[in-house]
Symmetry: C2
Amino acid sequence: MGKIEAQTVKGFRDLMPVQAKRKSEIISRIKAVYEEFGFQPVETPALEYLEILLDEYGEENTKQIFKLKSPENQDVALRFDLTVPLARLVAQYYDLPKPFKRYQVASVWRADKPDPGRFREFTQFDVDVVGTSSQLAEAEVISAVVEALRRIDIGDFVVKVNSRRVLNAVINYAGIPYDQGKDVFRVLDKLNKIGLENVKLELSRGRYDVSGDFIPGLGLNSQSISRIEDYLSLPKGERKTVISELASLLGDQSAVELVRLDEFLTVLGMTSEIVSYDPTIARGLDYYTGPVFEVVLKDKTQFGSIAGGGRYDGLVKRFTDVEVPAVGFSIGVDRLLSAIESKLSADSVVDVVVTVMDRDRLPDYLTIANHLRKSGQFKVDLYLGEEKSLRKQLQYADRVGAKIALIAGSDEFQKGTVTIKDLRKGKAESKEISDREGWLKKTREIQVEVPRNQAIPTILTILKTNG
Amino acid sequence: MGKIEAQTVKGFRDLMPVQAKRKSEIISRIKAVYEEFGFQPVETPALEYLEILLDEYGEENTKQIFKLKSPENQDVALRFDLTVPLARLVAQYYDLPKPFKRYQVASVWRADKPDPGRFREFTQFDVDVVGTSSQLAEAEVISAVVEALRRIDIGDFVVKVNSRRVLNAVINYAGIPYDQGKDVFRVLDKLNKIGLENVKLELSRGRYDVSGDFIPGLGLNSQSISRIEDYLSLPKGERKTVISELASLLGDQSAVELVRLDEFLTVLGMTSEIVSYDPTIARGLDYYTGPVFEVVLKDKTQFGSIAGGGRYDGLVKRFTDVEVPAVGFSIGVDRLLSAIESKLSADSVVDVVVTVMDRDRLPDYLTIANHLRKSGQFKVDLYLGEEKSLRKQLQYADRVGAKIALIAGSDEFQKGTVTIKDLRKGKAESKEISDREGWLKKTREIQVEVPRNQAIPTILTILKTNG
């Protein structure tokens, strides 16, 4: 039989220890913030009935859904986000105390074309408030996300805010049929990338991009385009000013919710540096009905939006006759992980490797490792391999990122001692040593032989001094 | 359009906040122990190429696999355990430092017939050591699992140990063809449930079960059955004694690994109460090659095995020409969750609910909530709903399990004060109050009006005294 090739499915990946540790650290920091804000965890299954995930026209929409059959031969699918399953859950457990504030962190799956940094399985960390149309809820989810991103120390970011109601009013103001709105929003979304002139070309007759490909235009008339240009030419800068100009331009009530949101955000100390109005933000998902949000990193725009959300007042209604307003925000944990890579320390989880010098004494090494672990003070790895040489075992200790090696040969066992070697100091100093004498001297400094019952305090001291 | 029914797929379920919190607590305690033992996290994808999950004959084996198509129209499937993906990972990243000690906690999927308490998506928490045939590795994974189960306080449990090598030697000793082994093990597995006489019937001509259904027998001859009976009649009790009887019965080297394992376990203080030899343990999965383990709860045998594992030296070889010995142990988190339900506290994540009395002052309530959160000392839920009555908001606070309510109306705002209400004390004492006067008196004890800048110390005091 030919060997089976060991490979991950296209668009999927493994996270090795350093990344897995970073991811776990990101998640636990976000989780702590969301709990401080009073959100409670729920878990929904990976699979849902397909009809639950399709849009209101029973179509796949923009999401590429992984479909399969249940054992009962029903159409089921892997969830593509955590918001639709939440809407299903709220309809199913209708007597939940409301407002229901939940967080969930879990994988979602999309059968998109994979790109570097774009995977078909990724982790979302969502917060939502279901059962209130109060704008306090918007302020709270934005505030929770801002605090979470600060807590993981991701660098400067900005929360861009817009509103579907405003965008619909713009479409109306520009005399464009409602159905064409989605196409217009998709073009506006490119403004920061391609500039106003190209946006205008895509709204009218189309244009050639840098590669020479023709991008067909939407064929809007010049009056419509000029009105969209009015909208895009609103002053940048202070949130309050932009929103007030917006309200006078559109002459309707669509900006009211942004005015109120601005007031709450201002109370929370969120300046226009942190939360800014952006006329181009629309969000891809069809279910949004009110304010929409998107977070980008100021110095790392190449990562795209690292979080997004908005108000979706109609989603629960698909399952029940009652209107259940809701608002949520989702952080893309994998994008954060890529963006943060260099910043977040992925410290070893191993403090001490207990090496095995004398294979007849395996029970003694077990006892030593067990004793260190029982102290509850360190992470202890007993060398479980079959290499007999100390050098190779120290290489192993190095590869797992251990800080200290504990060494005991027959000599030490006879005397009732152990040798404790400071691996970090050893590494730092070995660079400065050129001769054998220097090496011997340094060796004495980076390792110390102590009575077995002194092992724990000795290790503690080394970890503290060099830590 | 008809409404879509809000329901989970058959065999799948939601975890609501209390259970989700318990599960998260179980996972974080196990994780802490595994890190103390020097295991490092990895994450593998939910989907693998189907051929990777099939057994060496390209068959599905006993696992019911959820299959689907990748966007490239290849056969892929949801993982049914975390061990096969680990073997794939080790073959794919062959230069990993070895022994490679990893942990992973994640969902797995099986298209089994769902039962009460048996779901098609469940969470496994695995530890494995890959790249060593040392029996220290067996001792370490058992020791890590024992410590993890102690840490979550699951009650009395026993780790049952056997060995595939011993079982194969028993088959050989009984003169049974190797191919029939799996069927024999499946019958032995029922010993504790159906007793020796029924086991013997199933090994020979078959039997009628209590419902009157006929269970066909394996048709073994009486000499084979009598030799299996010899094996099953080994003395119970002290691990050392059983294993030594076993070695003399089988007269071969198959028990050597159990002798060595016993020695290590004894050093670690694991008596036969905690780790015992059980002749019937075989484990369902085909890939085991050496010692096998299974954990059952002493007082809750109805939960079946809550953890299982063993040595699987051939699994990585399916992907590569090199033999990579390995051993692992998997905890079934959902079974633990069911078993532990009543024991593990699922304390509220909410300390304080800030109620909203005067809707014109929403920014002030936001400021108060924000101020409490900034202290970093409590979990604070600002009431985001639209109910105006205090009674209804306090009911909400009750339902989310909050300990304290903060109340401020126009009165308090004018005086610069807030009222802090101790909800737990209130609940306890309201049972003892029968008249209005008593109620008024108690009210004064369970709530206190303090200057706004005294809110934090007041809340801290209440949380400490009452909690």
